[in-house]
């Protein structure tokens, strides 16, 4: 039988781990997305303002 303190520490421990993991994931995700954006910009993909070329019926 575990002592009661063990349950307490287990729950606090798991809570800490989960929250820390979540925070790290959010941060890492943000970093990755920013990196992708930078890469895309670097490779010259950029939004230009609208050019009005379309099909035309003849």
């Amino acid at each position: 039988m575990m002592s009661h303190a063990a349950y307490v520490f287990a729950s606090y421990g798991i809570a800490t781990l989960t929250v820390a993991g979540l925070c790290l994931w959010v941060i890492a995700d943000g970093r990755a997305r920013q990196r992708e954006l930078r890469e895309l910009e670097a490779s010259g993909v950029r939004r230009r303002s609208a050019e009005a070329s379309t099909g035309e019926a003849r």
Binding site: M2, S11, Y12, I14, I27, Q34, L37, R47
Partner: protein
């Protein structure tokens, strides 16, 4: 009608993605700092107040369990609101918000389940019983995961947003069930003692750390949610730039 659409344009103007990003950049550091502060105080309080005469040390689990449980429900409510926003006002940020909230909600629900089980073993003698509240929280957890899976699987947000919004709204029935299950069915679980109409019935000794921790968790939620929304907007920028690249490719020749 025209006034209405004008109002909506104003509203969407206010919450347009670029504006949102600027706002998030400004707010996030402060929110994060505040969250940390509350956690420090909350943790200190929850380890210094004395144990319950009945439950002994295990009462300290409450300071994690109860805020996590509250947050799991609040997060879903936020998602349901956002889903309404998607369906009724067709606001693009609403879908972003609902998508960003799902993993966070899943984590809080997971915490509520785990800490609840860890509390249940010494209190009830079993890790898990199939009573109404526990089952409904488990269903909530599954719903979060299902929505996450759905969101992952549909990579085109323009198409998936309305579908998942409908699912979120359908799932919202579960929230009142969780909240009132202890009153509708007699179960092992504690009835509400803090969030009730006639005021809390809990000893202030326990109430103080609980409230501080609850605030800390709430702040944590908003911090993470805003950060995750920012990530989601970036993700969509990346996707739309990629599509753009697809379209312009092979055109120069």
């Amino acid at each position: 009608m025209s006034e209405n659409s004008l109002a909506i344009r104003k509203f969407s103007d206010l919450a347009n993605p670029t504006r949102f990003l600027a706002l998030a950049d400004r707010v996030l550091p402060w929110l994060a700092a505040l969250t940390a502060l509350f956690f420090v105080v909350g943790l200190w309080l929850s380890f210094t107040t004395e144990g319950d005469y009945q439950q002994g040390e295990t009462v300290r689990i409450m300071y994690v369990h109860v805020p996590a449980a509250w947050l799991s429900m609040m997060c879903y409510s936020v998602m349901a609101l956002a889903a309404l926003g998607t369906l009724v006002w067709r606001h693009p940020l609403a879908d972003v918000s609902s998508r960003a909230a799902a993993p966070i909600g899943a984590c809080f629900t997971f915490l509520a389940l785990v800490t609840g089980s860890l509390w249940g073993k010494p209190m009830w003698g079993a890790w898990w019983v199939w009573d109404a509240r526990l089952t409904s929280v488990f269903v909530l957890f599954l719903m979060y995961l299902g929505l996450m899976a759905l969101n992952r699987a549909m990579d085109d947000p323009a198409r998936s947003s309305r579908v998942s919004a409908v699912l979120v709204l359908v799932g919202f029935v579960n929230i009142p069930i969780i909240k009132f299950s202890v009153e509708w069915w007699n179960t092992l679980h504690q009835p509400a003692s803090v969030l009730r109409l006639d005021g809390p019935t809990i000893d202030p000794e326990f109430l103080r750390p609980l409230v501080v921790m609850a605030i800390a968790f709430t702040l944590l939620f908003f911090t993470l949610h805003i950060a995750a929304m920012r990530n989601e907007i970036w993700r969509r920028r990346v996707t739309s730039l990629r599509r753009l690249a697809a379209r312009s490719a092979g055109r120069e020749m």
